[in-house]
Symmetry: D2
Subunit: 164 residues, 4 copies
Amino acid sequence: MRKPIIGVMGGAEVSAAVARDAYELGALIARKGWVLLNGGRACGVMEASAKGAKEAGGLTVGVLPDDTTEHVSPSIDIPIVTGMGAARNVINVLSSDVVIACPGSGGTLSEVALALKAGRTVILLGIEVGAALAEYRASGQLEDAEDPRDAIEKVQATLRNRGF
Amino acid sequence: MRKPIIGVMGGAEVSAAVARDAYELGALIARKGWVLLNGGRACGVMEASAKGAKEAGGLTVGVLPDDTTEHVSPSIDIPIVTGMGAARNVINVLSSDVVIACPGSGGTLSEVALALKAGRTVILLGIEVGAALAEYRASGQLEDAEDPRDAIEKVQATLRNRGF
Amino acid sequence: MRKPIIGVMGGAEVSAAVARDAYELGALIARKGWVLLNGGRACGVMEASAKGAKEAGGLTVGVLPDDTTEHVSPSIDIPIVTGMGAARNVINVLSSDVVIACPGSGGTLSEVALALKAGRTVILLGIEVGAALAEYRASGQLEDAEDPRDAIEKVQATLRNRGF
Amino acid sequence: MRKPIIGVMGGAEVSAAVARDAYELGALIARKGWVLLNGGRACGVMEASAKGAKEAGGLTVGVLPDDTTEHVSPSIDIPIVTGMGAARNVINVLSSDVVIACPGSGGTLSEVALALKAGRTVILLGIEVGAALAEYRASGQLEDAEDPRDAIEKVQATLRNRGF
């Protein structure tokens, strides 16, 4: 059986507190034996979550918007080079068994919306997504986490329901 | 000089009131001499806006998620067949000079977010997108319209600023 | 009934003779009342075929690899902005009812191959594609044309078989 | 430093001899400590090369055309789910440091062409691609291999030139 792939999405420019949370998410994902997947670049939530996972001995996949690996994080083991710009956001969420979303702006919100549309459970950590997605919250597909540990517990519960 | 392309986004299953607004948007876009672009399918806001534009003598472009034209609206003149599923949402917004968003769910919200990230002005007609996009509202890139006529006036003002 | 969409593919840097053929193809497509679709940029076979169609009063669609319209041909009426680089080659061929291929290099050959895989008839005009595609030639899906007029006659025959 | 990623492309329906070569390529790639990347499905060259790599203890990445993992090979560790059909062929080649092509049909030839256009070295193993790609053969970017071991030696030489 393959390992679960957990997507961590979030902004390219974030506060130190958000970066700390992203680092901790990466570390906790690695310690569970899961694969971390993110947008691959060497900045923001992408860099922090990859570094956290890598330093905890995990495997990291980065799905880049670029057509080269020039901007890839040094903590990414497997760069997926798409050359597709924001269309790679769709690949990020389809390739993730569960998605965790940290604060970001338009790109991050698009990933939350695309993940929900694709049937993925999305765990929000410090991001408010508004009434437009209320239907998914009502159905239990969209959940809030209090901190990284809480997010990971909610991921674990979802994975169990998906047969992992 | 080419004609402006106005994107109208919104759900595949919508109320009769939303469909009426979408039809009127299409008709107003056509009467301005603009090109209507949407997701191309024969349902919801896509079908209604294409029909409105077509019956008012306009030109209509539909960017389909499918790899065939099987589900295209009969009111679409130019079906763009992507075979890319939700990744075509990126093409919808990049190809539009201005985007109008009607009520929908995850797919529509992803288009609002992707359009804003790509620098497009987005006019919301009866859709609430939440605090996650507050920065774009503050900068004037994200606006609310009261009704289809108001939306078209806001599109006109934006086009003027973009040199059309 | 919508108008047929004819894709004309070919290199970004071509000889004057190839550009003349591409211009003539565009003109003949427009005079038939068909829509011309190509890769949209202001160079090579794209520029020449769009100009030929436009000057003959036709409608032209350009599916751009870029995420802006900066490099679009002035003869393109409808720029489709993908931001997807070479992945837009797939959209070029899926959106065409029939594909004509002029000389080019890797990009053009990828479009020939993708079009055949997607079930499109491909008419070659001065391009040699080798034994790897022999199966499609055997089945009649891949044909050679002697000159632009011959290519257009072969397109016409294919369209008839597709119900246009 | 990350491990090199070697793409193995080829048909979904192939002879037993081609499948044996693909299996051996996968095994040799894994023994070198490289990552195997292919199109991810449980058939043809994809299945055989993934199995070869997996049974030799390697890491395997499969970039699926589908929007689910339903058709993924059981020998794939990391399924990348694109939902983009043939547009994933672009991702296959951009994500590979070197590409090896086995016999196939339109899809495989599109990958050879896209890889060359993207600047990748392509090693052909039993596939004839014709005069349309002669310029790449002349420049040394397109090479023929006699058997899987020869292909791997040519990959090794290319990797050295790329700084691995």
